[in-house]
Point group: C2
Chain length 175, copies 2
């Protein structure tokens, strides 16, 4: 039995996308002393040469104006040990920078969270408006990759149907 919808409503669209799992990242930026950070589930790579990545930010997030005003941003890829950071960046009204032990500042001025296993400093290349969101295309200019040097890296964090998951040996498909 199938449910076919000729005119797609917002609810139907949201329901379909709840099925679609995604990796989790936090994007931070600073403009004129205003710091912002938000959780995104839209990060993907676009091109290795040049090293381009893309994510989208919603008009609904209070962090979006700072991210869109910034010339550089920091993209944090999160593992399951950083689920707290994913939740913090998704919590409406929460101060993302209240715990000074959790973040630092790049020499160039961008705030970043020190616990993230992969931190990418990136230059904004293009913005593309689409509906109630803006796609941000950015070029990696510096990568701090703790996973490249450590063997005890955390398990990948996945967001699906409003729940957090982690990948591990038990999740591997054997087919």
């Amino acid at each position: 039995m199938q449910q076919t919808v000729e005119t797609v409503s917002a609810d139907q669209f949201k329901r379909a996308f709840r099925n679609h799992p995604a990796g989790v990242a936090v994007v931070s930026a600073s403009v004129d002393g205003d710091r912002a950070a938000l959780t995104v589930s839209s990060l993907s790579s676009l091109s290795a040469e040049p090293p381009l990545l893309v994510f989208s930010v919603s008009d609904m997030s209070s962090s979006t104006p700072v991210v869109l005003a910034a010339k550089t941003v920091v993209v944090h890829m999160l593992d399951a040990n950083c689920a707290w950071l994913a939740k913090l960046g998704a919590e409406r009204g929460a101060d993302r920078f209240s715990d000074a032990n959790r973040w630092a500042i790049f020499p160039e001025g961008e705030p970043f969270f020190v616990d993230a296993p992969v931190v990418i400093r990136a230059r904004v290349v293009d913005h593309v408006r689409a509906g109630s969101s803006t796609l941000c295309i950015v070029e990696a200019i510096e990568i701090v990759d703790r996973d490249a040097a450590e063997s005890d890296s955390g398990r990948p964090l996945v967001y699906h149907n409003r729940t957090w998951h982690e990948l591990g040996p038990g999740s591997t498909l054997t087919c």
Copy 2:
């Protein structure tokens, strides 16, 4: 111990993104009788009103020219039961349409794979070039959502570090 890279090489960039898990989709299209389908790990929603989604296609894929020439495309969200389809759409040179039992054609002409739990027919709204890829922004015009009607839906399929994973009760984070 951290590995900091001031100039980001293609290998370093690829390594960082191998850490980043993603949901899996197959995009199909047909132009002047040429059919194409390819697996993407870049699908995300952009906006519910209007219902916009985005994915990227690489210049490296032989299916890309057809997808970029099409005015409408079909986006299939895949579960673990469709890992075979994810592999088929990612296999260089494979005929995606060799098994006539696996696909059908919308009245409007687009080919689609009948086993996918969620199938979205969509109108191409915008293309954005970025490095060696093209972002495709599309608007959903029809959703066939089998998961909305069935209780025995498959487990979500995730791609990570060149391995397929499925989400389930064992992958849920309890923190």
